[in-house]
């Protein structure tokens, strides 16, 4: 049994490790012939997704333009080895490039740079002897680690909450992971990072107007109770003479406030059990 497994592993290893057929394509020669990139990669300037299969040239439609006889199997001058490194074993050829990783719009990048060599600089001097350069996710970082998207202009750090979800094409994860968010939004903020220095004064007003969804970050009871319950700090309007009173219309302002912003009230008050509610109600 053990021998069978060993044999199987060896055979599979040999199968996977054998050299695959690939295209021998000397970019440098074709560049010297003054061919433009788009002569072979025809629709690259309009391609908006990495899943466009036409990004790689078709043998019958593109290569045949110049190498008509070589690609014609019926021709006497047919020459598969002109381009295929293992023409005698064509089944090992992988017809499609890997589509792993984030999506990529050639159009968007060419609109910005109009120069393929910004990303594909390695094809200069590519004599085809080595397998084609395989693009990796980390290679995007060579530009995007310092070159920010157009949206990241002045004030972006302050107003990115407004713009989030605005751009369906945005791929924040290309440069950012959860740690980026946590750097400002999760830690105890010894030095202020998210709010202005006056937020203690206006946070109640902002909360009752729903300016921010506070509980996105302040999801723990202690975030509110550490001041409002433990330290007994009441909102300013609780000190007003019209706030609560049996002789005031509707018992005072607190009733309508409770209807409008129950989330603000219940930071401190437990409706069914709170003495300050139960004494009158």
């Amino acid at each position: 049994m053990l021998k069978c497994n060993t044999m199987l592993i060896v055979l599979l290893s040999l199968g996977f490790s054998q050299d695959r057929d690939r295209i021998y394509f000397p970019h440098d020669f074709h560049i010297e012939e003054e061919l433009d990139c788009s002569d072979c990669h025809e629709n690259v300037e309009e391609s908006t997704t990495i899943n466009d299969r036409e990004l790689l040239p078709s043998m019958d439609e593109v290569c045949a333009d110049c190498h008509e006889n070589a690609v014609d199997e019926d021709s006497e001058d047919s020459d598969c080895e002109l381009c295929h490194t293992k023409a005698d074993n064509p089944l090992t050829y992988l017809p499609f490039i890997s589509r792993r990783g984030p999506d990529f719009s050639h159009k968007q990048h060419l609109d910005t740079y109009d120069d393929c060599l910004v990303c594909h600089g390695s094809i200069e001097g590519d004599d085809g002897s080595e397998p084609a350069f395989v693009w990796k996710e980390n290679d995007c970082q060579s530009c995007h680690s310092y070159q920010k998207p157009k949206s990241h202009i002045a004030g972006w750090k302050n107003e990115h909450g407004f713009s989030m979800n605005n751009f369906t094409g945005d791929n924040c994860a290309l440069c950012h992971d959860n740690n980026t968010c946590d750097n400002c939004h999760q830690y105890q903020q010894v030095a202020l990072q998210v709010h202005n220095s006056d937020y203690l004064s206006i946070h109640g007003f902002e909360a009752s107007a729903g300016v921010y969804e506070c509980s996105t970050c302040h999801s723990r009871e202690e975030d509110c109770t550490s001041c409002h319950t433990s330290q007994n700090i009441m909102p300013m309007n609780h000190n007003f003479p019209n706030w609560v009173g049996v002789f005031l219309p509707n018992g005072g302002e607190h009733g309508s406030s409770a209807l409008d912003a129950p989330d603000v009230c219940q930071v401190c008050h437990e409706p069914s059990n709170d003495p300050s509610c139960r004494d009158c109600h």
């Binding site: 107003e159 605005n166 202020l192 203690l200 004064s201 723990r220 202690e222 550490s226 409008d260």
Partner: protein
Amino acid sequence: MTGCNLNKFDKVMRYYFLTFLVFILTILPRTGIAQSNLEVTTSVFYPRLKTFDIKSTYLSSLLNYHQSFGSFKLSTRFEYGSETSQYINPFRMYEFNVNWKHHPFSITLGRFNYWSSYANVNVDGFQAGFSTKRFGKIELIGGFKSVLDFSDTTYVQPSFFSDGVYINKILFQTSWSFYKKNKFINISYMTEGGNDTLRPLVGFASNWKMFGLIIHETIVMDLDQSELNYTRLSISKILKSHRLKFGVHQLRLNGIHPWPWVEKMDIPVTYTAGWAWSLKPQMEILQKVNFRAGTNSTVFYNSQLFYGQYYVSIIAGIRENNEVYGGTVGMAKKAGKTVKFGGNVSFNIFNYNDIIEPINASSVYGWLDWNLIEKLNIKFFGRYIVNAYYKKDGRAGVIVYVKM
């Protein structure tokens, strides 16, 4: 410094924490076999809260370490510091997980932070994903909502597995999401603990472009109650250098919120309208109005102007007899190659009409970041507030930041 009552648990945690520190600081970076990123932040600050007459020095050390080993990635964020009003235990763990990624699979084990359209939550558990461009992403998340300073286990509750505490912390989510250019869709089934019961929720989130409009929506439905729990809709339009946005959101709290005693409450609808105008690469104007409907509806207006590293913000809020007007001026600037400094000044007036005299509130915040040598920064900061709550409150400190 406020006292830290160390019990057996803390001692054990501190021992493991220090062992871990020694290990990663001395051995791993020298192996050269893996890509690592280490940030250590030590801070000390002195608060003075006049209302409570608190005069204490607070110390805190944060360690943020990421290490990649081939397809594996270790992520950690620890803090060891003084007792605060939010964290009673000195040891806090924000993140401690191992992630394995091999396309199309990915698995994360440990304590991790999870952001989605439905929640931002720290979880002790696992996250497993299977993702292909053609079929989208299937994701499973399971575990307990984290107690960052382990206070449930050592102080507040006698035992984690008693009184239904663990039920209130259970979190399970399975979701399918699909992303294609200009289209994103997510459907999730969630089970979340709260009020000593497990509550089934189903969520739908999408982001798509139609007729030049970008539409984002999130809906969460409580299957137990057969009612909507949360809805958010925003519609945006980009017109050259202008971005317009209109949004509506409403929350019905029945479990997913910080206050365990609240069984259920309906919060009125909030409408948001915004307009951002990018005049130049370094200049932008943002106008935003929030309106929460209700018996006494609340309106809050905020206008911001950004110019390079300078900004001005103006606010105005009106609610029945209460009004607030104010503004902030802020900036950040480089002085040479090694020094950056900045801060902001705010002033607000609260007008309660005839009820009481108007109240002022003002604050100033400043910082200076000095890049001493290549991987060592020292940041000085200070804040001073005068308002009706704290009367006068001053806090200042220094942060030492090392990156390796």
